[in-house]
Symmetry: C2
Subunit: 439 residues, 2 copies
C-alpha cells in the first residue's frame, strides 16, 4: 500500500453509523447508575483515494444518545475531508485543535461529553488508517516510533504545569534502551487483565458463583464486583465472591458514582473487611477534591481509589494526579479524544507514579485498550506492578480482528490497524435508523 | 389561567428550533478563542392542554453545533411529554435526575457539555411555564417562595460535602426577614451591570474609544476588555481604555482560556499596572487547581480571578469555591442545567463568601440573568458589594419581553415568565434548517 506516499493519501469521505446491540435484554453491563445499557457505538468509516485502504474508528455509548454523537461527528466532518494523512501527522496537535477548538463548536464542549466522544471516534479512525498504511498493528507502530516523534503527536495545552514536552521526552527516552526486551515479553506472555464479567448487579447468585469459578479456571487473579445499590446486599454478594475466589486474589468494587463524598467513606468502611484492592468511581467523575478526600480517608484501610472511565479529558486527569486523588488511573480510550490524549495521560501517570489500569468492556474498548496497554508497558511505565487492564467478554464476535485472550492475559494484536473494524454483517444488522433497528 | 390546577396542566408537546443570528459578519462577540461566533440558540417551546399557556426556554450557542443540542433535546423529549406542572414541582430534584441521569443518555454527559446545555433549555422552559402559570415574572415567583420551598427544588447530589440542604435553608432563612426591603430597592434602583460591549477583539480603536465614552455616559463604572491574542497589542488597548475611563473605574480583562497556568501569571504581571479588577477565564474552565495557583500568585497584585461561563455544573463550582480558585463566581444560566442548579451555585457562593457576577450576553442570557441576579440579591447574598452582572447590548430586539436597562442597571422584569420568548417573526426569519438559513 505504501506505493502512495502519506502526503498523497487523502481522506475523501467520512461516514458515521449508529450501531446498537440489545444487551439490556440480558442485564449485561447493569450497574448502580446505568441500569439498562444497550451497548452501542458511533462508528466512523474514513474512505481514501487508495482503494481498500480505510480508517475505522468508534466511540462507545449505552444506546440512546448515540444519534447525538453522530450529529456531532457530522458537524466535524468538513474539518477532516480533504486532509492527507501526511498533513495530519506532520502537525497532529494542530489537527487535534482544529477538531476540539473549532471556534463555534468549542462552546458546546470544550473537550468534554458529546463533542469529545465524537472527536475520539474520528481520531481513532485516523490512527487505524495510519497503522494500516504502515501495515502494522497500532501498538507496534507506536512502539517503533522514536521518543522525539511521539511527543510531537501530543497537545500539551492546559497540562504544562504538570508535564512539559521536555519531561515527556525524558520519560520516553529513559525506557527507549530496554523496550525491545519488554516487547518480546508482551509477544510471549501478554498483558495481565482483570474481569468484570462476574460482577454485574442484575446477575443471580448462581450465575455469579459459576462466573467466579470460570474466571479462576482462566487464571484471573483480580475480580471486580458492582456495588452501591444496597449495603446489606453488597455485603452478602462480597461474602459469596470472597468464598469463591479465596482470600489471596485481588477483589475490587465499583460504585459507578453512586455516592456523596462522606457516604463513600462510610460505605467503604463497612466493606473493608473484604480486603478491597480498590473502590472504583465512588462519586462524581468531576470531583477531583472529593476523590482526594476519599483517598485520604481510605488510605489507613489499604483501599485504593480508582476512577477515569467518565473523566472527560487530560485536564481532569492532570488534577486527579496533582491532588493525589487516585491510586489507580483508569482512562477510557474513547472518552478521551483518541489515541494522542490517552498517551498524554499515560505520561502524566508515569510522572506522578500512579499505575494505569485502563477501562474496557462495552463495544470495542477491549480491542482498543489491548494496543494501548502494550504501548504503556513497553514505552512508558516499564512495569506491571499493580497494573491490570479490564476485560469483559462481550460482543467481540462482531469485530474483524477481535481481541484474543490467552487465559487471563491480553495478547499482542497481529493485524494491521487499531482493531475497531466491525464486520459488514454486524454493521448492517445492528444499524439503528430513525429510532428503530434497521433489520 | 389558574382556573386549571397545576396538577392538571399537562405538557403535551416539546418543539425545538435551531435559531442562528449572523453576528460574525460584524465581529460581535469575537475573542481570543471564539473568533467568528454566530450567536444562536436551541429554542424549546412547550405546549400544554391550556390554550395559550406555553413554556419557552433556550440555551445559547455560537452557531455550528446548535443542531447537536437540538438532537440531544429531542432525545430527552419523551421524559417531558405528559408530565404535569404539579408533578414536576412536587419533586423537582426527581425530575432533574430523570433528565440528567437517564440510564443510557447519562454516559454521554453526565451533566456536562451538549446534554447539559439541552437540559438547561428544557428546565428553563418549564420555569417559564410555571411563572406564567403563577402570572409573575420568574424573579418575583422565586422571591415569594418560602425558604423551605426553595431548598426542595434543588438537587444536592455531589455537593453535600460543601453545602447541605440544612445549611442552604439557614442561609435563606437568614435573609427572609429583610427581603421586602431589598425587593423594593431592586424595583426602585435595579441591579448594577458592567459592559463588555466596548472590548471585543475585532473592534477598531475608534470604535473602542466611542463605546467607552458611550458606556461612561450611560453610567457604567465597570468595563471589560478581551485580551490574550498579543501582549503588546493588549497593553496598547488597555492604555487606550484607561485613558478613556480614568483611573477610578473598574477595569476587567478576559482571556477566554487562552493561557497555560504559568503563562496566565506571567502575562497578568505585565498588565497589573492597569489596576485590573479581575482576570476572567485565564485558562481551561476544567482546571480548578490551576485557577487556585493563579489566584494565589495574583493576590499580591490585587487582581482577582473570575471564571464560570464554561464551567459545566455545580460540581466544578463547588470545587472552585473549596479550593479558593476564584474571587468572582460567574455561572452561566444555560450551561448549568437551568434555574435550579444556578440557585444551588448562588447558595454555595454565599457560604464561601464569593460574590456572584453572572455571565451574560449572547442571545437571551441578559434576559435570563436579569431575573436571577434579582433573586440572588434579595434572597441569598443580601449584598451588592463587588457584584455586577454582565450586560451586552445585542439581539434584545428579538424578544417579546426584552431586558430593560436604566442607565447601567438591570431593571426588574414585569411580564410573567422567564423572558426568553422570541418574537414569532424572529423565530421564522432566523430558523436554520438543513444547514441553510430558512429564509
Amino acid at each position: 500500500m505504501q506505493s502512495l506516499s502519506k502526503d498523497k493519501l487523502i481522506i475523501q469521505s467520512l461516514d458515521v453509523f449508529d450501531i446498537r446491540f440489545p444487551t439490556s435484554k440480558e442485564f449485561i453491563g447493569s450497574d448502580a447508575m446505568h441500569t439498562n445499557p444497550d451497548y452501542s457505538c458511533a462508528y466512523v468509516v474514513l474512505k481514501t483515494n487508495c482503494q481498500g485502504l480505510e480508517g475505522h474508528g468508534l466511540t462507545f455509548t449505552l444506546g440512546k444518545g448515540t444519534e447525538v454523537i453522530v450529529s456531532s461527528i457530522e458537524a466535524q466532518r468538513e474539518l477532516v475531508i480533504g486532509k492527507s494523512l501526511g498533513e495530519i501527522f506532520k502537525d497532529f496537535p494542530k489537527f487535534l485543535r482544529l477538531l476540539t477548538s473549532e471556534p463555534q463548536l468549542r462552546w458546546i464542549g470544550p473537550e468534554k461529553g458529546v463533542v469529545h466522544l465524537g472527536t475520539a471516534a474520528i481520531v481513532n479512525a485516523i490512527w487505524d488508517l495510519a497503522a494500516k498504511f504502515e501495515e502494522k498493528p497500532l501498538w507496534k507502530m507506536l512502539v517503533d516510533m522514536k521518543p522525539e516523534e511521539i511527543v510531537e503527536l501530543l497537545d500539551f495545552r492546559y497540562v504544562t504545569d504538570a508535564l512539559t514536552k521536555q519531561e515527556a521526552l525524558e520519560i520516553l527516552k529513559g525506557l527507549e534502551g530496554t523496550k525491545k526486551i519488554r516487547e518480546e515479553e508482551m509477544v510471549r506472555d501478554g498483558y495481565p487483565a482483570y474481569t468484570t464479567s462476574a460482577g454485574w448487579l442484575g446477575y443471580s447468585d448462581e450465575k455469579v458463583r459459576s462466573l467466579c469459578k470460570e474466571a479462576i479456571s482462566q487464571g484471573y487473579n483480580h475480580i471486580k464486583i458492582k456495588v452501591g445499590q444496597d449495603l446489606k446486599e453488597d455485603i452478602r454478594r462480597l461474602e459469596l465472591v470472597r468464598s469463591e475466589i479465596g482470600p489471596e486474589r485481588k477483589l475490587m468494587v465499583d460504585a459507578n458514582q453512586k455516592w456523596e463524598v462522606q457516604e463513600s467513606i462510610d460505605y467503604m468502611k463497612q466493606l473493608s473487611k473484604f480486603n478491597i484492592w480498590w473502590i472504583e468511581e465512588p462519586t462524581s467523575p468531576d470531583d477531583i477534591l472529593g476523590h482526594a478526600t476519599i483517598a485520604t480517608a481510605l488510605k489507613p484501610l489499604n483501599i485504593g481509589v480508582a476512577t477515569g472511565e467518565q473523566c472527560q479529558n487530560r485536564i481532569i486527569f492532570k488534577q486527579l494526579l496533582q491532588a493525589k486523588s487516585i491510586s489507580f488511573c483508569q482512562p477510557d480510550s474513547c472518552r478521551l479524544g483518541g489515541v494522542n490524549e490517552v498517551l498524554l495521560v499515560f505520561l502524566m501517570s508515569k510522572k506522578f507514579q500512579v499505575p494505569v489500569c485502563m477501562h474496557a468492556g462495552g463495544v470495542g474498548l477491549c480491542e482498543y485498550v489491548n494496543h494501548l496497554c502494550m504501548f504503556d508497558y513497553i514505552c512508558v511505565s516499564g512495569s506491571l506492578e499493580n497494573r491490570v487492564t479490564e476485560f469483559v467478554d462481550h460482543l467481540h464476535e462482531h469485530f474483524v480482528n477481535p481481541v484474543i485472550m490467552k487465559g487471563s492475559r491480553y495478547t499482542t494484536p497481529k493485524a494491521p490497524g487499531y482493531s475497531a473494524e466491525l464486520k459488514k454483517q454486524s454493521t448492517q444488522q445492528f444499524q439503528f435508523i430513525n429510532s428503530t433497528p434497521s433489520k
